[in-house]
Symmetry: C2
Subunit: 134 residues, 2 copies
């Protein structure tokens, strides 16, 4: 059984983060001491690892919550359910990557058109481009 500070330190997160996860339904401690201290057991620790690993691959806390619901009653769900959450996230990421690539390309074009030297910005092609009627 860990107290909140021990578990937080073990995984290099803040105690406040654990309290936040509890408040938002992600991870509640399995018990409390007589004085009201949160007590986390081994299963709680496994669950925290799940959360941190899912965060590390880009899931939002809401998405992690969905996965945790499935994980809590695995037998009631199919592999298909899990896989589709992951695939949906992949699509989401691919869309964001595409958008950022577009931004990158537009900006690279602007940068390429600019001499970038010590000349006055009075006739700067980048500034001009930002001002045009779309």
């Amino acid at each position: 059984m860990y107290r909140i500070g021990e578990l937080a330190q073990r995984y290099e997160i803040k105690t406040d983060t654990l309290r936040y996860y509890e408040k938002h339904g992600l991870l509640a401690p399995s018990g409390r001491s007589d004085s009201g201290y949160r007590l986390y057991n081994d299963e709680d620790e496994v669950k925290l690892r799940f959360i941190l690993r899912a965060k590390a691959v880009g899931f939002s806390l809401a998405q992690i919550h969905e996965l945790l619901v499935i994980d809590a009653s695995r037998a009631k769900w199919a592999c298909h359910d899990v896989k589709s959450i992951v695939e949906k996230k992949v699509v989401e990421l691919e869309q964001k990557i595409a958008e950022l690539n577009q931004f990158r390309d537009s900006l690279q074009q602007l940068a390429d058109a600019c001499c970038g030297g010590p000349e006055s910005a009075e006739h700067c092609s980048i500034l001009d481009a930002l001002e045009v009627r779309q």
Copy 2:
């Protein structure tokens, strides 16, 4: 001269967005009517176009503010100054793209390892992978 509603409608943004931009130092109207209404002139309109265009290629409002400072006194700045802001943004975007690609690859691996069928999630390789000690 436009009133706030006219300019907002012309560019399909909210009046509140214009007030927000004014409050945050991005775009102040050039004048006020006797009754206190904001009055935007042609230069204000050009400036708004600048803001919207810069947003459209991924700049944050803080970054746009920097560009506007340069644009306001172009002769006092060099092309180099403008280009370096743009190039910094390109680097920033490339870093984010790299991170998202990493997330995408990790998740794609997880998805590929899962049968994704109607079998019980009891032995789901995705859920297992999220639980391992790092």
